[in-house]
Symmetry: C2
Subunit: 178 residues, 2 copies
């Protein structure tokens, strides 16, 4: 019986383990502050190997920009990762309410209004995303208003979402070697 | 001789091809506006397959949050991708000036000051990155002031960089299926 409780699963998640992990974070005052690190190694041309913790992923530009298209471009990673962060948040928030999800997909559309500045073709505007739409397609054991409220809460509390909806200053530093 | 010019390469880039690609974009008024799309498919738990154009990448949460750690977490993708975008921009801007790069690496450090809100442990603050440092380590055929100016220009004109340093509104939408 105790073992069954420990193995309580919903949406593929070990909820007892999840609650224990959250409780441990809640008891640790240092956990409020989180520093993340990455390292990017040049592979020639526009191709880079990006290292985060124990993972590696390849970033490149498509052939239209004379890249080798060995992986998604940076802006493709950004919009896809936003979708994954929102999707993870929806699974987390629905699971906490005991709602079983049968199927889900998130589609994203992001507008770059003036990407020419990156190429040196314009001195004005900014070349990043100016607005993004994130649409959830879902089949789950709850009514539409409940699922809509969870989705809107998820977008409002998403780490990647908040990184995009807030101004995040970037400080450049450099070390030149002979 | 013509063929040699066409094959002019620096830093692994076909510069004649690059200039031709940029000239084609400059002649196309529609090119100022760019829409990017992504699709995120659920694989169970916190694991998602993210599709952009012809590429796929896996996003997951680490075991500390009861994920399977099948890939980087969303915030790890964001900081690593910022680094790759800045690195690509540096190669592009240095190559346009004819500067040969012998070796380069970018390290990133991003601070989440209150990531607890994502877990429902706090009602205040935002759980995204609040500030990021991006450091370039480089060996190249140019003096430090030149390389520093290129790096600072690169950070200021980066598509991912500008996505982070500006407010990007995210509009949630939902479709519920029975």
């Amino acid at each position: 019986m105790v073992q069954e409780q420990q193995q309580e699963r919903i949406n593929g998640l070990d909820m007892a383990g999840f609650r224990a992990a959250v409780a441990e974070i809640a008891q640790n005052p240092d956990a409020v502050h989180n520093t993340r690190r990455a390292r990017v190694r040049w592979m020639g041309g526009f191709k880079f190997s990006t290292l985060v913790r124990n993972h590696t992923f390849i970033v490149d530009e498509p052939a239209t920009l004379t890249g080798e298209d060995a992986g998604p471009s940076p802006m493709e990673y950004i919009i896809g990762t936003l979708g994954a962060c929102l999707a993870i948040g929806f699974v987390l928030n629905a699971s906490k309410q005991g709602i079983a999800i049968r199927n889900m997909e998130v589609t994203l559309e992001g507008d770059q209004m003036n990407h020419l500045r990156f190429l040196g073709l314009s001195e004005e505007g900014h070349p990043g995303f100016e607005r993004i739409t994130a649409k959830l397609f879902v089949q789950a054991d709850a009514d539409e208003p409940v699922l809509r409220a969870i989705w809107e809460h998820t977008v409002a509390t998403s780490p990647v979402g908040n990184t995009l909806t807030h101004v995040v200053p970037i400080t450049p530093d450099i070390a030149v070697f002979p």
